[in-house]
Amino acid sequence: MAVISDQERSSSIFPVKTTGGQERTVATFVANRAVQKGKPIYSVLALDTWKGYVLFEAPNSQVVDESIQGFKHVRSKIPGMMQYSDIEKFLVTKSMVAELNVEDTIEIVAGPFKGMRAKISRVEKEKQEITVSLLDTAFSMPITIDAGYAKLVGRAKTDVPQAQS
């Protein structure tokens, strides 16, 4: 499998204002059009945290302009662009901490340990933090990370009853 470094993934985020309630329609329509016309748009997002906008991940502004052109639910493109890191936090869902338990295996999806797998040794729900030990590495010192940086990849074998919150 080819490993692509962050340097090779040089995309930016372009927010486009849409008619209220039409975010998913716009995302779907423009994504289909981009595929048909071979426009290099990498992804299209219609997030609940960005009501009235659709976010386009693309190498430059021009391909977004060309892809949204003439579509009725598109209001305007916001001038300028955002770095990918500005929207990364909207992708890692905070409520995750409630679903995490000791012994679960997670993948770290942001921050300096991004891409590594780890096993949870402690969950601090109030602080939204978890302490983990990294797998696939000889370096076994526990580290504490933001629970939003964790993506659950494997539940602990034992069926622990879920605590009511």
């Binding site: 080819a2 692509i4 962050d6 090779e8 993934r9 995309s11 975010e23 998913r24 995302a27 779907t28 994504a31 981009a34 595929v35 290099p40 748009i41 990498y42 992804s43 299209v44 997002l45 219609a46 997030l47 609940d48 991940e57 190498p59 990918y84 990364e88 992708l91 890692v92 869902t93 409520s95 993948e107 999806v109 942001a110 993506k151």
Partner: protein
Amino acid sequence: MRELACRKCKALTTEKACPNDGSTELSKEWSGLIVIINAEKSQVAKTLGIAKPGRYALKVS
């Protein structure tokens, strides 16, 4: 037609099973639409651990 989200991989489908993994654990409770067009170049795909282009939910409950 209403799309359902796979609880395993979060792919969206209007079929009775997930197109990626065949799972029939589908949920109508999902939020955030993510359309991945180029999974190799997309940083969004990388963050979310998505390897295949397609329509996905950000959150499935």
